[in-house]
């Protein structure tokens, strides 16, 4: 495909764990058989509970962990086989912003040094003055003032540190920006500022965004497509509006129902509707469909058969054996009724 920036084909990441004393090692399947085509210029959200493999998946894209099986095709080139010294130059075009804004900035470096570091590595042709120009420009672009370059991370608030982290990632103008829970550690009033900033940057620079988050409301605001992961497997992939207004996978429905809504007329009724149970151990995943132990619609066949991640309609994939026979969704993610949404004087 011409508009594909990155494709994952049957990507699996396994970690060896456990009993080293007797030489028996179990394999933890953190990511299992993920197929994904990332389109140039889109913002893709990846959602799921902790332990669902969200972070491992994006780290495998960056080759920060090497996949156990499958392919990572970056701009037409398989990169999972490349030695690290050939992967590193590619990172100029793929950058990441982490969750904890303060912990991801070196406390002993000035803001100027932090933001200039990617330039030193990837653009050695720039001299000090050129680097400084770039650093000042990107700092101002993310809403900071250019005169902070001689200050240190601890002098800044969480929201400002996250802006610095975004500036460091954007200073190279990457083609792909991966954001791993970038607003989760921030105060509510600051989250909106960062979400808006990412939206603006995407509009201005046109980069592709992979946005990992457990906050489904934030994902809805920022992303055009959403991938739902459960126990390292892909459950559903759809355009954002379709996924929220017509979720098909029972897990997607459960996730949406669990997000609290600040409306006392709606929220009390939602409380009793969430998913039961907890994520099973990834060391011994359930047979068949891994979600069946928590699925309100599980049938005997779900224990026997592994659902294929199927392309069921335009822009929509789902891994569920029974999706076509399930009752309609109660509609927790649907927009509020028109009467409530519009002012009616």
């Amino acid at each position: 495909m011409t508009d594909s920036l990155l494709s994952l084909r049957g990507l699996s990441v396994w970690f060896p764990v456990g009993d080293r004393l007797f030489g028996r090692k179990a394999m933890l399947h953190a990511v299992e058989g993920v197929d994904l085509e990332l389109r140039a210029g889109e913002a893709l959200g990846i959602v799921g509970e902790s332990g669902c493999g969200k972070s491992t998946l994006v780290r495998a894209i960056l080759q920060l962990v090497r996949p156990t099986h499958g392919q990572v095709v970056w701009m037409g080139r398989r990169i999972e086989e490349l030695p690290m010294n050939e992967v590193r130059p590619l990172r100029r075009d793929m950058q990441i912003v982490f969750q904890d804004p303060l912990a991801s900035l070196n406390p002993r470096m000035t803001i100027g040094e932090i933001v200039a570091e990617p330039l030193r590595v990837h653009r050695p042709e720039l001299d000090a003055a050129g680097r400084r120009r770039e650093v000042e420009a990107i700092l101002m672009r993310v809403g900071l003032s250019a005169d902070i370059i001689n200050r240190y991370p601890h002098e800044f608030s969480g929201g400002q540190c996250q802006r610095i982290g975004i500036a460091r990632a954007m200073v190279l103008r990457p083609k792909l920006l991966i954001c791993d829970e970038p607003v989760s550690a921030l105060d509510v009033s600051i989250q909106a500022q960062i979400v808006n900033l990412l939206k603006e940057l995407k509009r201005d620079f046109g980069m592709t965004i992979v946005f990992v988050s457990h906050n489904l409301a934030v994902v809805r605001r920022l992303c055009e497509r959403v991938l739902v992961l459960y126990l390292g497997r892909t459950m559903e992939l759809a355009l954002t509006d379709d996924l929220y207004s017509r979720p098909l996978h029972p897990y997607t429905r459960g996730l949406l129902a669990a997000v609290p809504i600040p409306d006392p007329d709606l929220q009390p009724a939602r409380l009793g509707t969430s998913l039961g149970g907890e994520l099973p151990s990834p060391l011994s995943p359930p047979s068949g469909c891994v979600f069946r132990t928590r699925c309100p619609h599980a049938a005997p066949q779900c224990a026997r058969e592994v659902p294929v991640f199927k392309h069921i309609e335009a822009d929509r994939w789902i891994a569920c054996l029974r999706w076509h026979e399930l009752p309609a969704d109660p509609g927790y993610g649907k927009p509020r009724a028109a009467g409530q949404q519009k002012a009616s004087p």
């Binding site: 105060d187 979400v195 809504i261 709606l266 409380l271 998913l275 994520l279 409530q340």
Partner: protein, 372 residues
Amino acid sequence: MRSIPVTAEGTAVAATEPGLADRATASRPVLEIDALSVRFSTPDGEIPAVNDFSLAIRAGECVGVVGESGAGKSQSFLAVMGLLASNATVTGNARFDGRELLGRPASELNEVRGSRLAMIFQDPMTSLTPHMKVGEQIAESLVRHRKMPSAQARARALALLNRVHVTDAERRLDQYPHELSGGMRQRVMIAVALACDPVMLIADEPTTALDVTIQAQILALLAELKREQDTAMVLITHDLGVVAGIADRVAVMYGGRVVELGTVRQVLKSPRHPYTQALLRSMPRVDDAADAPLVTIPGQPPNPRSLPPGCAFHPRCQHAQELCRRERPPLLERDGTWLACHFPVELVDLGALGALGAPMSTLAAAAPEMPS
């Protein structure tokens, strides 16, 4: 730890016990906090963390206390529980069941804490004892407060684990906290808190560390306890969605003070303090398909070390005027809501604000008045 209660300037307003007025006929409050202030002495000077905090909570009622970091929401209730750091100075009153809690020695507080007045915390891993079995931790308060024989306490611990819907409860009794998942640990902590049938439960960000699905389960459990056991509850959280499902009333805190207090419908459906409004608008909603940029609150929550003069919210407020920069607005009752604002927003049904994208000032002017 506590100095003599003082009636500082301005407490006259708060002393009318905000929250009692809206339900004159309701039962006597379980906990009455009056003009509570918390100050920390540090090498850099005094830090006022909580100022003039007054709240009354009745049996069976759940009050949500909402605010961002540094708003003083946790410190207020840690002060009530006598759990503040040693450099704290507390003034004011907190009467629990008619008895003053503030300034009492730990030995006396321990008769109340963990038995009739219980608290659960954000991180169940650090609040549970790592080297004690789950069953023993639940039984501990029963043995201590109720002088229950240990076999009986164990049986009651089992019943409590079942009560909070812990699966496989018999086996869990002999497990250690690290063997449990985060959601399970939070259920255990709730079981510990419920052991002696408390009349009041203070929950400090009880779901913040949990996954959204597990959060929903814990919130459903708290709602069930409130419904079935008539336990008074304080729910401290930064998430307005969390209070919407359980709370009867909501107190919004900013810069160490309550800025808005009313029923959950008043505060979430027709907020009148500019901060509450802005906070609601800046939160993306999972049921909101709008594509417009989120309304943001400029700047960041104030550091209690250097609170702005006048109204602490004025540097971030779109309605701020000269008076707001100069004079701190007292907490006053207006149309059944308690508000600390010189220029409260007109009554507006937030549901009618639609796409939530328009600037606040135009909305306030254009939106129709809500029928009461």
